[in-house]
Symmetry: C2
Subunit: 219 residues, 2 copies
């Protein structure tokens, strides 16, 4: 099995965590995202594998899957233990709602391809990009913080075992830290992320630990 | 069961289609999204139900679910017939990937809350907003069109029965038509949407057929 991914992509990191929680081995195929118009995810050979021109992409024999919610759903069916979604319907829905909120309403806005477009098509400078990034992370984390103010929250986002929700939360917080967002207003988020990072599945799959890691350059 | 939703919200329309395909009755609770700072999804009583402050929200007894991927997953488990995901792993992953791509990479960019922020925080005028909207719909539809150029595509996005992928595609095309995006470059998309709209589950749940429908006003 191959995971086409990029060390600093938060979507890639979600899947690395899920694979690590399940103890599944895979081949790490780096796809370098950059500000270059020839950035690797846009090249024809990769676009033929993944028309979405994004990372990550999971390849398991003849099956190729893009989009992290679909990849994690697949992993959870193929390797059921430990489960990444609770067995009860209400718990499963809560975990998936948190994951999908991060996937659809936070991450897509302050991401590289959108920021490049704001810069190139609308002349956003660093200050405007920073304001854009901070705004959407704050809007998103306010909602997540409120969702986590629930008796269903435990040591992790849902109870005392990591679930898919944690696989989404921790990478989004890595992004937020890079963007220097103040996490003080989000004590539940900060506490849960700290608990996650005590586990090797989370701390061992961070960008800095990946084979393609290199220091960030500004764009 | 209640569906808090808004006639013109494409995310709401996805769930209306899914409920109609399954023949499930529900109470339609309109939540009016508007450019008003007191827009209904932001009011404290609704935010207490849904901290994400978005529509749709499904309420089934004590279970409340936001995010369409989580809602459709729930509906598909609670009312398995007709299934909205194929039974085979590869098919399920393909359908979920198309749905999640639309949910995470297309819809969140040219949507009301983002466009209001671009207008209010960055001074985007109508022309810039239109360029923003058209750009992301075109980027997204190019990818979807390529994904649909597959032998797995049939009368619908996956084979000859509607799936979750169609529940996402048709509302996104409604949005694109409102934005006057030219669909000529996307013949697979146009053909499949036409096939879907021959079914009452799709044509009977459009914005214009909803009890809260009113003509669009510009923002």
């Amino acid at each position: 099995m191959k995971l086409y991914n990029f060390h600093r992509s938060s979507a890639s990191y979600r899947v690395r965590i899920a694979l690590a929680l399940k103890g599944v081995e895979y081949e790490y195929v780096p796809i370098k995202l950059s500000v270059d118009p020839q950035s690797e995810q846009l090249r024809p050979d990769y676009a033929a594998l993944n028309p979405q021109r994004m990372v990550p992409l999971l390849e398991d024999g003849p099956v190729r899957i893009s989009q992290t919610l679909a990849i994690i759903d697949y992993l959870d069916r193929r390797w059921p233990e430990p489960p990444l979604y609770p067995a009860d319907d209400a718990g499963r829905s809560r975990v998936m709602s948190i994951a999908a909120y991060i996937a659809s309403e936070i991450q897509p806005l302050p991401c590289l391809r959108v920021e490049l477009h704001l810069r190139d098509a609308f002349g956003f400078d660093r200050q405007k990009l920073s304001a854009w990034r901070t705004h959407w992370i704050d809007v998103g984390f306010s909602a997540v913080e409120q969702m986590l103010s629930s008796p269903d929250t435990g040591r992790f986002c849902h109870g005392d075992q990591p679930t898919a929700a944690d696989c989404y939360l921790v990478p989004q917080v890595s992004n937020a830290r890079r963007a220097r967002v103040d996490l003080t207003p989000y004590p539940n988020i900060a506490r849960i992320v700290a608990a996650c990072l005590e586990l090797p599945a989370f701390s061992g799959t961070v960008a800095e630990a990946m084979p393609d890691h290199e220091p960030m350059t500004a764009h």
